[in-house]
């Protein structure tokens, strides 16, 4: 009797253990296939009545940074462009001294979508004392000169409006492009005639604001 009873108990324990292991196996298997359980998905069907999804305004505004080294590598101008919520853009120009790594903000301006600023390749004067930037307003180019030190000019402003100075003294031609520096103080301005052909070139002497007509075209 005792042996039969022991045999029954052993069989019971064996089957219960086997069932527990099988259950545990299926639990594990089931958990592995968790991601495959939802076979039925609801397709998103575009229809004419759908409404446009408005993208949320990013929490951090988009910032672009471009820079230009001076020809001798001693200074760098950085233009940081921040796109605002109303699509206007804020431009910040700063000068970095490459020896000391000290950065100084020179000029900040916010413009609407019709305007943009850029740094020309020849932005620095040969002695790194000045730099000029270009503003494009509805395909018209305007130019401004700054001192890299950030000091103001004798008119009290911290920049010279090159376009205004040139257009006030050059009436027969329109300003086409300011290309670069002929010397430490002379900006080169090219003009065009009313028929679109190339006009004479001029120098603008930055300290004196004198406009000098040239015999040769640059």
């Amino acid at each position: 009797m005792i042996s039969i009873r022991q045999q029954v108990e052993l069989e019971t324990v064996f089957f219960i253990t086997l069932a527990a292991l099988a259950g545990f196996y299926f639990v594990l298997k089931n958990n592995q296939n968790f991601n495959q359980q939802f076979r039925v998905t609801t397709p998103i069907i575009a229809n004419e009545n759908s409404t446009n999804v408005v993208s949320p305004v990013p929490l951090t505004p988009k910032v672009d940074i471009v820079s230009q080294l001076s020809p001798d590598g001693n200074k760098k101008v950085i233009m940081q462009t921040t796109t605002n919520k109303d699509a206007s853009k804020t431009y910040e120009f700063s000068i970095v001294d490459m020896q000391t790594n000290v950065e100084k903000t020179i000029f900040t301006q916010t413009v609407d979508t019709n305007s943009s600023f850029s740094i020309p390749f020849n932005t620095f004067s040969p002695d790194d004392k000045y730099f000029f930037i270009q503003e494009t307003k509805s395909e018209e180019q305007e130019y401004m000169v700054f001192e890299t030190s950030g000091n103001a000019f004798n008119n009290g402003q911290n920049f010279l409006d090159v376009t205004s100075i040139l257009t006030s003294k050059i009436t027969a031609y329109t300003i086409d492009q300011v290309t670069g520096w002929a010397s430490e103080t002379l900006l080169i301005a090219n003009t065009k005639k009313s028929d679109g052909s190339q006009g004479p070139s001029y120098w603008l002497d930055v300290p004196s604001k004198a406009v000098i007509p040239l015999a040769t075209e640059f």
């Binding site: 020809p71 001798d72 390749f121 040969p126 670069g180 010397s183 002379l186 640059f218």
Partner: protein, 238 residues
């Protein structure tokens, strides 16, 4: 013995007229003009970017305290520190292999440097305005850390000490840094190829001068450059 008689003819001294002298002067003048005209046609002058230093002064010269002159304006040359000049290649040093070749595109005023088919540099330059940059295929024949360049006349006269990173490729026409202007992308030189100092330094450290029988890095000056070995040259000098 017969005595030989010396007969002395008395030639009458002919009096020369003014017309005679005028005729001689005219013939001499015509001959001079003909020789000059023939010389200018058949004997081509050697082009020279620096008329004062072309034949005499193509050697390294460091003048850290000198003052330069360009377009009638004084300019301050950069200080050249020979000890700080790096001989390390900086362009394509780790990635590129192949023959080095520099292309100068006069139409776009852009310089390209290639190692094989790999472009290692592209930048704006300023080529000849007051004197033409020679079109053709050359090799760098001399590299100088700095030298003095002078030439031009009148308002275009220039005298520039410490011109940095000079690589002569044809006579005294060279690639070099320019500290007296910043108008790259537009012709602005007397025939040389002007570069920003930082670009000239990088190219100088990368390009090779002649060594033994091996010529220096090839330099092709093109009217239009499309790709390596596609370099349009109108009336090349060689």
């Amino acid at each position: 013995m017969k005595k030989r008689k010396h007969i002395r003819k008395n030639i009458p001294h002919k009096k020369r007229s003014i017309i005679h002298y005028l005729r001689i002067y005219t013939i001499a003048a015509v001959a001079g003009v003909v020789v000059f005209a023939a010389g200018t046609i058949f004997i081509k002058p050697t082009p020279c970017a620096n008329t004062k230093s072309c034949t005499a002064d193509l050697q390294q010269k460091i003048e850290n305290n000198a003052v330069g002159m360009f377009q009638g304006h004084k300019v301050t040359p950069p200080k050249i520190d020979l000890a700080a000049i790096s001989s390390q290649n900086v362009l394509g040093a780790t990635t590129s292999q192949g023959e080095k070749h520099i292309y100068v595109d006069l139409s776009s005023q852009i310089l390209y440097a290639y190692e094989g088919s790999t472009k290692v540099m592209q930048t704006y330059i300023a080529s000849g305005k007051w004197g033409k940059t020679p079109v053709g295929n050359f090799h760098i024949w001399e590299k100088l850390v700095a030298t003095r360049m002078s030439g031009g006349e009148g308002a275009d006269a220039y005298d520039l000490p410490n011109v940095p990173y000079v690589m002569y490729f044809y006579n005294d026409f060279g690639l070099h840094g320019a500290y007296w202007h910043d108008n790259f992308g537009h012709p602005m030189s007397h025939g040389c190829v002007n570069m920003r100092q930082i670009d000239a330094k990088a190219l100088f450290n990368w390009a090779d001068g002649p060594s033994g029988n091996t010529p220096g890095t090839a330099v092709s000056v093109c009217n239009h450059f499309t790709a390596p070995n596609i370099c349009q040259q109108d009336n090349p000098i060689n």
